[in-house]
Assembly symmetry: C2
Homo-oligomer: 261 residues x 2
């Protein structure tokens, strides 16, 4: 099977113009098929402030009321998505930007409230892998904004990490998928204070050992549990590290690589 | 050659929720290949006001400074484009929303200033008909936002009428193209005060006659000159009328039809 890289970048890269610029240049030069999933960054929050729309965060997640959905649709699927595409084009990387409504690529449902009501937040039901594959087969790079739809005309705000993971899982039916989470740290750290303490590789057994001996920073556990879930569902490798170091993440010279072995 | 409908809608439909809703339902039910080109409406102007960004119009055209470009990218390529797509999906019309940067579909250059500097306004250089055709051939309907790019990483604000026209001309190489301009009036009127005075058809000879006898409202002349230019460059028919009446426009029962004959 052919290789496919699914690369997720977050606000730490999107908000810093020189970092974004350098990342996009590196990303454009990665050979082979690739999908970029981007988060939002601070622009949506700043826009909401300017427009006088109060924002509510619960456990770091945004509560998406109707006005907030308007803003994230504009900022994520409009401003950020189209600027990334235009800049990839300038590096001779022919990209197309889409959200989950486009080509019915990611179908979701409004999150069922269990205590906190997250409003118009979407939990993913299915990814249209056939269409994404057809875009990739035409030589296009896909730039995905973390907005989904419910098939009944409603857009929904979806977590970009989850979006990348679900896409990676579905595409594993047709490709050998590497899922790269770009992150503000150099990888999964043994000691959260020490950037040199990157754990270079994790497999299910070594992860269990580290978890049981409480050697892993608790904040990383949900991310890692998700990474191992992706591996169990067919993703070949999950790599976590700094997006600025994209080349080395892809060839295994830096970051943390999560796999079966 | 197969038929293709290129349909342009403007602010009069986008700004009126019941009208938009009814239009999208009709549009979704149009059989065969189709491209929807949408303008912006009043939302960009309202957003600019809320954010304290002064807007300058010269002869009805927006001067696009950097902050205004951000807003139109967000509103046109984000909010409006993705909402239209999600709603078409709910009517079982599989659509994808793109702007000119996506798949390098519409390449433009910054308008050369001749007196008025329109800022980041884009004049179209080329349309990537091959890619648009490949999307249509996959059974997708294209929803196009009037934002283009210059190939060097810069997005540009482009007039939606021009965008529709350039797409229709390029696609005429592969399809029998009808270009439909949806409009606030029932068609080209003999008497601008009388909605019943629709001129049902125009060809180059009858148009010249009406122009010479000054029987056509002067405000329509640039639109009609463009329509005849499209016909000369391969577009089969240009139809001007009310979008609410889409079915009758397409089957020739209402509006003004512009063709060779």
């Amino acid at each position: 099977m052919e290789d496919l890289n699914v690369i997720k970048i977050g606000g730490n890269i999107i908000d810093e113009e020189p970092m974004l610029s350098s990342f996009l240049k590196k990303f454009a030069s990665v050979t082979g098929k690739k999908i970029l999933v981007h988060g939002g960054g601070k622009m949506a929050t700043r826009m909401a402030e300017k427009m006088g729309i109060p924002q509510q965060l619960v456990d770091g997640r945004r509560v998406t009321d109707a006005e907030t959905l308007k803003i994230v649709t504009m900022v994520y699927a409009g401003y950020i998505n189209k600027n990334i595409v235009a800049r990839l084009q300038s590096h001779q990387c022919n990209a197309t930007g889409i959200c989950g409504a486009d080509g019915n690529s990611v179908l979701a449902h409004k999150r069922v409230s269990t205590g906190t009501d997250f409003g118009l937040a979407g939990d993913i039901d299915s990814v249209n892998g056939q269409w994404l594959k057809s875009l990739l087969d035409q030589g296009l790079t896909i730039v995905m904004a973390p907005i989904t739809h419910n098939g009944q005309g409603q857009l929904l705000n979806t977590n970009a990490d989850t979006m990348a993971q679900e896409i990676a899982k579905t595409m594993s039916g047709s490709f050998q998928v590497k899922l790269i989470y770009s992150f503000e740290k150099a990888g999964v750290l043994m000691n959260v204070e020490d950037e040199q303490s990157v754990i270079r590789s994790l497999n299910p057994a070594s992860y269990l050992e580290l978890k049981e001996s409480k050697k892993i920073f608790a904040g990383m556990i949900p991310k890692l549990d998700n990474a191992f879930a992706a591996i169990r569902e067919g993703v070949k490798k999950v790599i976590i590290g700094k997006g600025e170091d994209l080349g080395n993440l892809l060839n295994g010279k830096s970051g943390t690589t999560i796999s079966h072995e």
